[in-house]
């Protein structure tokens, strides 16, 4: 049983990514280039449709002159590295207490009913993958789902479905709170500090 998937296709950084990788490596003292393994794995994952193949892992190992096993250790330790292909939209559904109290179960049901996927699965068309994760640190806007790099907040079954519909159609779905509020401000606008300062 191996956790690593071989694609048979060679992996290589694009010239821009090589440049970026060199910047990451330059942040560490000479001879300590292996410290850059995490940003480089991230870079490789972004270039490789959001997952790391055997070739990508070994490329990073070679790039940093680090044994492959050391790279694999890091890649298997952190859940943010995907070791198998994921959909175009990678949904990370928070299920920690605040999100759960605010209805993350409903969002999970939407995925199950609408997309037909549970945690760790990918839709047949390769558009969506779902992963249940622990606290994403946006409890004030619970429940929250991270789609690729963006947070979609204050979700409920309806607006989450709307987001998914837009994405499925290839449209852009506005990120952030999906209800009437700015960032983490109160719903419907500010409630305090309404007067202008300096009057008194």
């Amino acid at each position: 049983m191996s956790q690593v998937i071989e694609t048979g296709k060679a992996f290589e950084f694009t010239p821009e990514n090589v440049k970026k990788a060199k910047v990451f490596i330059a942040k560490y003292p000479k001879g300590r280039q292996q410290s850059a393994v995490m940003p480089l794995l991230d870079l490789a994952q972004r270039q490789n449709e959001n997952w790391l193949s055997k070739e990508a892992l070994e490329y990073v190992g070679k790039f940093l002159d680090v044994p492959y096993m050391r790279v694999l250790e890091v890649a298997t330790f952190y859940t943010m590295y995907n070791l198998k292909p994921v959909g175009k939209y990678f949904l990370q559904l928070c299920r920690t207490t605040p999100c759960w109290l605010r209805g993350s179960d409903d969002l999970e049901a939407v995925c199950k009913n609408k997309l037909g996927i549970s945690s760790g699965e990918t839709t047949e068309d390769g558009m969506f993958s779902l992963l249940e994760v622990e606290c994403l640190g946006a409890c004030v806007n619970a429940p929250v789902v991270q789609i690729n790099d963006d947070f979609y907040e204050d979700l409920n079954a309806e607006n989450f479905e709307a987001v998914l519909d837009k994405l499925a159609k290839g449209e852009e779905a506005p990120k952030g709170p999906q209800i009437d509020r700015i960032n983490s401000a109160p719903e419907g606008g500010p409630k305090t500090l309404l007067e202008k300062t300096g009057d008194a």
Binding site: M1, S2, Q3, V4, K54, P67, Y68, M69, R70, L72, E73, T76, F77
Partner: protein, 682 residues
């Protein structure tokens, strides 16, 4: 020098010592799993908890540096409860399958849970199970038993220098695995079996073979390479069940190479257990007296110059001394212990590993010539790697380009490069010049060639030119591959006046040739020579013999072995030789009587007295007697050809290993060398 109090006892320790070591110094026993004095500190098993005054919690003593004025308690109620807690957590996912576990009886977890555990469990949930891993033909895995001490990972990374072993996943899902399930390709892999404190990594060949308490343990010396590793031979009845390393700081520390550890099943197969005499062109079993009579008839009235003898790689010093004395009595100068034709002379400093193995740690530059120490002496290679890891140790290699397990500069392939270094033309010459304690290691690959003496002279020139030899340092080293070689040279098994050397002895010009365990030879030109083979295994030598005298293997006799440093060490008999086979020196003694040239010793003690007379340092067991710097090597022209390492297949270098199934499996799994098909293999 911090001074601290442990259980009311004041101890002063070196700076950098851990609390755990300080506790041991004070006589307190600290349980541990992950801590190992030869590996880096991990601090992840939490078994070594002790109480430190003014600290809010128990501390992990292995990871805490000893500080001045610390007050440590190792036997309070709090410590007891802490250990019980740590043990309880370790046992949560550890299966209680001791009755079917090979580690049972020598298991750290078993012992320490008896001594420090609470004796019961509060855990009723399911235990996790982990898939077995493939780690090759030597290591059996039961990964469910693993407690994640990571000793094996640290050993492979730090000592063995193979970074294929690691811990994947995390938390409860953490597993020890090799990269993509590859077998662990290292000559030292067997040591992780010893290091594993539980039964997760056990010996595959020894699986379910014996329990530790039913084995007789004999402390002996390994003879399968020239390191002279200290071993413990575990035997039951007339069978060697396994071989383990013994601690010797100056030789093998506590490691053992895989060939030395796992060749033991070769002791049971292909054995010569009765004398044979060739009758009508076929070797037929015979009695001892028949065999001796056949030899006596052949030697009767024969001129000594028509007789020759070669001593092989696995021969003990006692039998070499007896052979040498017998040849002297027969009036033959034709004797040689260098079956590979190495151009070594009788000057002792010219064939020893003068720096000593432990001395490598004091060196500050190294030039390796015609050798792959990783295969020729894996434990010396581990020592070089240890030194290299300390830093500031430039290493250069002349010879075959190989992965040695440490960083090195590759200079070139042959004598020309060596000559460049010797004359100071090469850039590495500057490094040698600057170094205070430079070393050169000359392998048999550089010496076993027709221009070997000239190469040796070049190496000596480097030693002289770059001050490798001073009053308190000798950086000139010859790395041997055979356990018998230094002993043979010490005892003077070299051609006498007008005598022939090994290659000339094999050209068929002699009437009688005595092969004492000599198997790594070219027998194609023997012609009509009458060949007497004395040895333990039916290998190359025995197949061409006219008379076979069955001898004892290294586990079956009391013998002195001299390692490549020139350190005489005492091997002891673990089991008796099979069948009619006898200890080798007694065979030669009996034969000499039959020939009417009785050797002047009747007991082993008398023989050893004669050896000490010939080479006084044999009296100082386990002492390296420094050899005075002398003159050796013959300056002359060298050839252009590259150095070729003497070992092509690490796992099959001697008759015992070649008879071993385990070694054959290793060779198939790891060695890149492919043997040619015979035409019947598909």
């Amino acid at each position: 020098m911090p001074t601290l109090t442990v259980d009311g006892i004041e101890v002063t320790v070196e700076p950098g010592t851990t609390v755990l070591q300080a506790c041991e110094e004070a006589g307190a026993e600290i349980p541990r799993f992950c801590y190992h004095e030869r590996l880096s500190i991990a601090g992840n098993c939490r078994m070594c908890l002790v109480e430190m005054e003014k600290a809010p919690k128990l501390i992990a003593s292995c990871a805490m540096p000893a500080g001045d004025g610390m007050v440590i308690h190792t036997n309070t109620q709090k410590v007891k409860e802490g250990r019980e807690g740590a043990m309880e957590f370790l046992l949560i996912n550890h299966p209680l399958d001791c009755p079917i576990c090979d580690q049972g009886g020598e298991c750290d977890l078993q012992d320490q849970s008896m001594a420090y555990g609470s004796g019961n469990s509060r855990y009723h949930e399911m235990k996790r199970a982990v898939a077995e891993k493939n780690m090759g033909p030597l290591i059996k895995t039961t990964m469910t038993r693993c407690i994640h001490c990571t000793r094996c990972v640290r050993f492979a990374t730090e000592v063995a220098g193979v970074e294929d072993l690691g811990a994947i996943n995390r938390g409860e899902n953490m597993e020890i695995a090799t990269y993509l399930e590859q077998a662990l390709d290292s000559e030292l892999s067997g040591n992780i079996i010893d290091l594993c404190p539980v039964g997760a990594l056990t010996s595959k060949p020894y699986a379910f073979a014996a329990r530790p308490w039913e084995l007789s343990k004999t402390e002996s010396i390994d003879a399968l390479d020239a390191v002279g590793a200290n071993i413990r031979v575990d035997s039951r009845g007339k069978e060697v069940m396994r071989i383990l390393p013994r601690l010797h700081e100056d030789v093998n520390e506590e490691w053992l190479s895989d060939r030395s550890r796992f060749s033991y099943d070769g002791l049971k197969t292909q054995r010569l257990d009765t004398p044979y005499v060739r009758k009508d062109g076929k070797l037929q079993p015979a009695s001892w007296s028949e065999a001796f009579e056949a030899i006596a008839a052949k030697l009767d009235g024969l001129d000594g110059a028509k007789i020759g003898a070669i001593a092989g790689d696995l021969v003990c010093t006692e039998s070499m001394k007896a052979l040498k004395d017998l040849m002297d009595l027969l009036g033959s100068p034709n004797i040689d212990c260098r079956q590979d034709g190495a151009a070594l002379s009788a000057v002792r400093s010219g064939y020893l590993f003068n720096s000593t193995i432990a001395g490598i740690e004091a060196a500050d530059a190294l030039l390796i010539v015609g050798s792959n120490p990783r295969h020729e002496a894996a434990l010396i290679n581990a020592r070089i790697r240890k030194r290299w890891k300390m830093g500031n140790f430039p290493i250069a290699l002349v010879g075959e380009q190989r992965d040695l397990g440490y960083g090195h500069e590759y200079l070139g392939a042959g004598p020309a490069t060596l000559a460049d270094v010797a004359s100071g033309k090469h850039s590495f010459a500057k490094t040698l010049k600057k170094a205070k304690r430079p070393m050169i290691i000359v392998g048999q690959g550089a010496l076993s060639r027709s221009d070997g003496a000239a190469v040796l002279a070049l190496a000596k020139k480097i030693a002289d030119n770059f001050d490798l030899v001073s009053d308190d340092w000798n950086g000139f080293n010859v790395l041997h591959t055979a356990a018998s070689r230094v002993g043979g040279l010490d005892l003077g098994l070299l051609p006498g006046e007008g005598g022939k050397s090994a290659s000339d002895l094999l050209d068929g010009s002699l009437d009688v040739l005595f092969l004492l365990g000599a198997d790594e030879i070219d027998t194609s030109k023997l012609g009509n020579s009458f060949v007497i083979y004395q040895g333990s295994h039916g290998d190359v030598g025995a197949s061409v013999a006219d008379v076979i005298l069955p001898g004892a293997a290294y586990t079956e006799k009391d013998a002195i072995w001299v390692n490549t440093e020139g350190r005489p060490q005492l091997g002891r008999r673990a089991i008796f030789p099979p069948g009619d086979a006898r200890e080798d020196w007694t065979i030669l003694r009996a034969l000499s009587e039959k020939l009417g040239k009785t050797l002047p010793y009747n007991t082993l003690a008398e023989l050893r007295a004669a050896m000490i007379e010939a080479a006084p340092h044999f009296a100082d067991i386990d002492v390296v007697t420094p050899a005075p710097w002398g003159d050796f090597g013959v300056e002359g022209a060298t050839e252009d050809s590259a150095f070729v390492n003497p070992i092509t297949d690490y796992y099959l270098t001697n008759p015992i290993s070649r008879s071993s199934r385990i070694m054959a499996q290793c060779s198939a799994a790891f060695s890149k060398v492919k043997t040619e098909g015979t035409g019947t293999n598909g």
